[in-house]
């Protein structure tokens, strides 16, 4: 039960983080469309790091 609550919290946190990354990246691309490639790469890397964090927490808590 507590595991599930923890998992929910992790997912909420990760979702907020991913939303921030994605939203800011979109803003950046809209502002500077010519830098879209670089922004996308950086976005994916940071997203992946966040994902690793969230998955790590989920696995450790399981």
């Amino acid at each position: 039960m507590y595991n599930l609550i923890g998992a929910g919290l992790i997912v909420i946190g990760g979702g907020i983080g991913l939303g921030q990354i994605g939203g800011k990246a979109m803003e950046g691309i809209a502002r500077q469309p010519e830098a879209a490639g670089k922004i996308q790469t950086a976005m994916i890397i940071i997203g992946a790091l966040l994902e690793g964090l969230a998955f790590g927490a989920l696995i450790l808590g399981k």
């Binding site: 994916i44 890397i45 992946a48 690793g52 998955f55």
Partner: protein, 372 residues
């Protein structure tokens, strides 16, 4: 340019058509379990859990009425207390609950949940405790050609064939033909978008062999996992642990002097803090970074398979509520949709693994010319 693009497009179309076909073909084999009918949510759950694990035979389909298994056995190679034993997995007769005991040269072996156990000397059948753990048997070192190993060998063969053909193609001319037209841009992509920017123009060459191999290995295995053959190689924790350890060993052993200096004795920081920082950095490089690498790949692929199979299982679980046609249609559309996303994820995970590996390698080989 136009001429070059056309064949690539047609390849992609064929690829897409094939994956879609497999998506449809997947349904019947998934909806029926091994041996018995899979109907209830608990059985489905168990079936999915079983699929996510490795298995010792290559199972396609079981006919319900006759109980015939359409599968082919794979060799079992185990290191037991009596030494190395090899036999075909067909000797277990598709049993996965420890009922069938195979005796090989004085060793009694049985298979429980896709794992091979060796029975104690005087035992004849397996006894279980309340949590369904065997009490009179222990696990053995299992070097079997399991489904995952088979998948890896298949992927390796595909890699050797495809890229060998591309490499040979260059002997005939500068521009590749056939499958090389698809593979060459990918190689260039890995080199120019992943290796060069992260490791640096000067040093990237040494790591290209590892990065390219890992990228295509993971990608092909991910894609194999989407076919109805039912591979889940990159969803095996042992596989991702091995890949991540490889990355770790490479960046730890190619670390420059600057890297070690900055890791162990950070300049520009009060001396008291330096050992603490060193511990944090070392733990980061040895444990956290490889752990995040391996967990990310494992969790993504496992979750992907889980979602696809759960959506396919909707066909059965929703039959009561919506009727057979509606539930089948719904599960088909949803599974197809998720499968398409999974194709993207298959590439993305291979990309991220390679990207982060090269990022870490880049951190290790970097030489700081600024002296703090």
């Amino acid at each position: 340019m136009k001429i070059a693009q056309k064949p690539i497009k047609s390849y992609l179309l064929i690829l897409m058509a094939l994956t879609t076909l497999f998506g449809y073909a997947k349904e019947p084999s998934q909806s029926h379990g091994e041996g018995e009918k899979v109907d209830t949510p608990e059985e489905i759950r168990e079936y999915i859990a079983h699929h996510l694990k490795d298995s010792h035979d290559f199972h396609f389909y079981t006919h319900n009425e006759s109980g015939t298994h359409y599968s082919f056995p794979l060799p079992v190679i185990v290191w037991t207390s009596e030494g190395l034993k090899t036999f075909m997995s067909s000797e277990f007769h598709h049993d996965d609950a420890g009922h069938v005991v195979v005796e090989k040269g004085g060793v009694k072996l049985t298979k429980i949940h896709s794992k091979i156990y060796e029975l104690d000397q005087n035992a004849t059948s397996v006894n279980f405790d309340e949590e369904h753990h065997p009490t009179n048997a222990h696990r053995v070192l299992d070097f079997s050609i399991t489904k995952s190993v088979f998948g890896m060998l298949l992927a390796g063969l595909l890699l050797l064939l495809g890229f060998g053909a591309l490499a040979r193609g260059y002997k005939r001319g500068h521009v590749p033909k056939g499958i090389g037209r698809v593979l060459e841009p990918l190689v260039i992509y890995v080199r120019d978008e992943i290796a060069k920017p992260n490791i640096g123009e000067k040093k990237y060459r040494k790591f290209m062999g590892f990065l390219l191999t890992v990228f295509f290995f993971i990608w092909i295995l991910n894609l194999l996992g989407l076919t109805p053959l039912g591979f889940n190689v990159t969803g095996q924790i042992a596989v991702t642990v091995c890949l991540a350890l490889f990355t770790m060993v490479i960046y730890m052993f190619s670390g420059s002097k600057d890297f070690w200096k900055h890791t162990l004795w950070m300049p520009g920081v009060p001396v008291i803090l330096r050992p603490i920082l060193a511990v944090i950095e070392l733990v980061g490089f040895i444990v956290i970074k490889p752990f995040s690498l391996l967990v990310r790949l494992f969790a993504n692929m496992t979750a992907g398979h889980f979602v696809v199979m759960s959506l396919i299982a909707l066909m059965i679980t929703m039959k009561e509520a919506f009727g057979p046609v509606a539930s089948t249609g719904m599960s088909l559309v949803l599974a197809l949709f998720i499968s398409v996303i999974e194709i993207l994820v298959a590439f993305l995970q291979a990309f991220i693994f390679t990207m982060l590996s090269s990022l870490f390698i880049g951190m290790a080989v970097e030489e700081h010319d600024d002296h703090h």
